[in-house]
């Protein structure tokens, strides 16, 4: 469902080669950790997947869409097939929990009826039905991240990308967030998690792709954070 073929990314303004000749394949329904220290190329890899950056060369195919060939007009429609979760949650502060979810659906043209049916359902999946009408700043960090996950689920994406989703959270809350992501994965959605969190990676025994110096240095089917890597 996701393929990188000889992908290289050089940033125009700085001439820095962020990624060099990346080849990568992720199957539908996989759960993948993307690890690597800051500046290794992890963020660039994610930005290429979300079409925030354009590859300098090579091809990226996601859900049968050639992301490298997308016109800027087509990008919004492509992004609707993805669900994004960020370290800093990125919720709209002036909208309630359910409005945040509804907003994501409104943006892609869902009808009010569809929203009324689906929004409470996805909130239920992250255990936040009781807090539907709270504002984000009335929630804990873990709860805010769950709202973000619900929002990512709202449009029924087949790929969820979480960029350091536990970066701002306590370890036990982090575990909880990962459980939700794992559950989503179990229902068939592909999940990619970029993280620094050694404990989580080691505990979950999922596929681990390690990036360093712009290249993939390790790709283990059931991996952990190796001890000789200092990320």
């Amino acid at each position: 469902m996701l393929q990188f073929r000889n992908v290289t990314k050089v940033y125009d303004n700085t001439n820095v080669t962020a990624l060099e000749n990346i080849n990568l394949e992720i199957e539908k329904g996989e759960f993948v950790f993307l690890v690597g220290h800051s500046g290794a190329g992890k963020s660039t890899l994610i930005k290429l997947i979300t079409a925030e950056e354009k590859a300098t060369s090579g091809e990226i195919i996601i859900n049968d869409i050639n992301v490298t060939k997308l016109k800027s007009k087509e990008i919004p429609f492509y992004r609707r097939t993805l669900g994004m979760v960020f370290q800093d949650f990125r919720l709209l502060e002036n909208k309630t929990v359910i409005e945040n979810v509804a907003f994501a659906m409104k943006v892609v043209g869902a009808t009010n009826r569809q929203i009324r049916r689906r929004a409470p359902d996805v909130l239920g999946r992250v255990g936040l039905s009781q807090k539907a009408h709270f504002l984000p700043d009335q929630l804990s960090g873990g709860e805010q991240q769950r709202v973000a996950i619900a929002r990512a689920l709202a449009n029924n994406p087949n790929l969820i990308i979480a960029d350091e989703p536990t970066g701002n959270l306590d370890p036990d809350i982090s575990g909880e967030i990962m459980q939700y992501l794992e559950e989503i994965n179990r229902s068939g959605t592909t999940v990619i998690v970029a993280t620094h969190d050694k404990d989580i990676v080691n505990r979950m025994h999922k596929r681990v792709i390690a990036v360093d110096g712009g290249s993939i240095v390790r790709d283990d089917e059931r991996g952990g954070y190796s001890d000789d890597e200092e990320f």
Partner: protein
């Protein structure tokens, strides 16, 4: 269009959630429109006055002595028939003679002259609808066989019509410059307001909103501010103009300021058009910088 009610609601809500920014933008729009509005009122009055002065500008058409008094009316009709002649008034030579005698009072030279020896000629005083074309119109009049000569104030009339044209040209140039200046100020102010909401724009883009979807509420917001600003600034200017008009309406002999009602209407139309344009365009320009994620 199914999203219009959503865009409108968002736009209106944004106005109220960012009260300070809205107020600042509104004040800027009002000040900008006051500046262009004052200029508009002044320049339309200047154009009006120069046109009026032009329309009141008189040419003397002298008639040959051989034309008998009974035929003068017919000659007047002929002159009136020439294109772009506004008005024709006969000034018989007897009147000119009397006037002259009154002026020079006891000059011995004229004492002996009787009506029959009147040295003056019959004359028509002519005003034109279009001073610009004086050359052509006077040329046409000269072709009439009864006409002896025309007054030689053509040069003055040309200067006057040149001034009229310049007033018009400079008015348009200054108005456009002012408009561009205001547009850039408004765009910067709106840019500030959008900058404070770039996180929201960013989130919208990540969940797959099209640029149009992101922009629409901002543009509606800008248009609304522009419209309110237009109404308020038109009201302020109209009030001030009516004060001015009631105290000082006559500029020159026979030349008046434009009456208030048409001025109000022109202000309202121009301000509304311009306010909506700068509000909407300013927002569009400003939001464009932020939608590229």
């Amino acid at each position: 269009m199914k999203n219009f009610s959503y865009f409108f609601k968002e736009g209106v809500m944004n106005l109220f959630t960012n009260k300070m920014v809205t107020l600042m933008t509104l004040l800027t729009v009002i000040v900008s429109l006051l500046v262009t509005g004052v200029f508009q009122v002044v320049s339309s009055n200047l154009m009006h006055i120069s046109r009026e002065v032009g329309n009141n500008f008189e040419f003397n058409i002298y008639i040959k002595d051989s034309v008998p008094a009974e035929q003068l009316n017919a000659v007047g009709e002929k002159i009136m028939g020439v294109a772009m002649v506004n008005d024709v008034v006969l000034k018989p030579k007897a009147d000119t003679f009397t006037e002259f005698k009154d002026k020079v009072a006891n000059d011995s030279l004229l004492k002996g002259l009787s009506e029959e020896e009147n040295p003056f000629r019959d004359c028509f005083i002519v005003t034109l609808t279009n001073l610009d074309q004086a050359d052509y119109v006077l040329g046409e009049i000269k072709l009439l066989e009864e006409v002896d000569s025309v007054s030689n104030n053509l040069e003055t009339s040309k200067k006057l019509s040149a001034i009229e044209k310049k007033v018009k040209l400079y008015s348009i140039i200054i108005y456009v410059l002012l408009a561009i200046l205001c547009l850039s100020i408004i765009s910067n102010i709106i840019n500030l307001s959008i900058f404070s909401r770039r996180k929201q724009i960013n989130i919208m883009k990540y969940v797959g909103a099209t640029n149009g979807f992101v922009k629409a509420p901002f543009i509606i917001e800008g248009v609304l501010v522009g419209m309110v600003g237009a109404l308020l600034s038109s009201a302020i200017l109209s009030y001030l103009y009516s004060l001015l008009y009631s105290n000082f309406s006559q500029v020159l002999e026979g030349v008046y300021l434009l009456p208030p009602i048409p001025v109000f209407l022109e202000l309202l139309v121009m301000n509304a058009a311009y306010g909506i344009l700068i509000g909407g365009l300013g927002a569009a320009v400003a939001v464009n910088k932020h939608v590229k994620v």
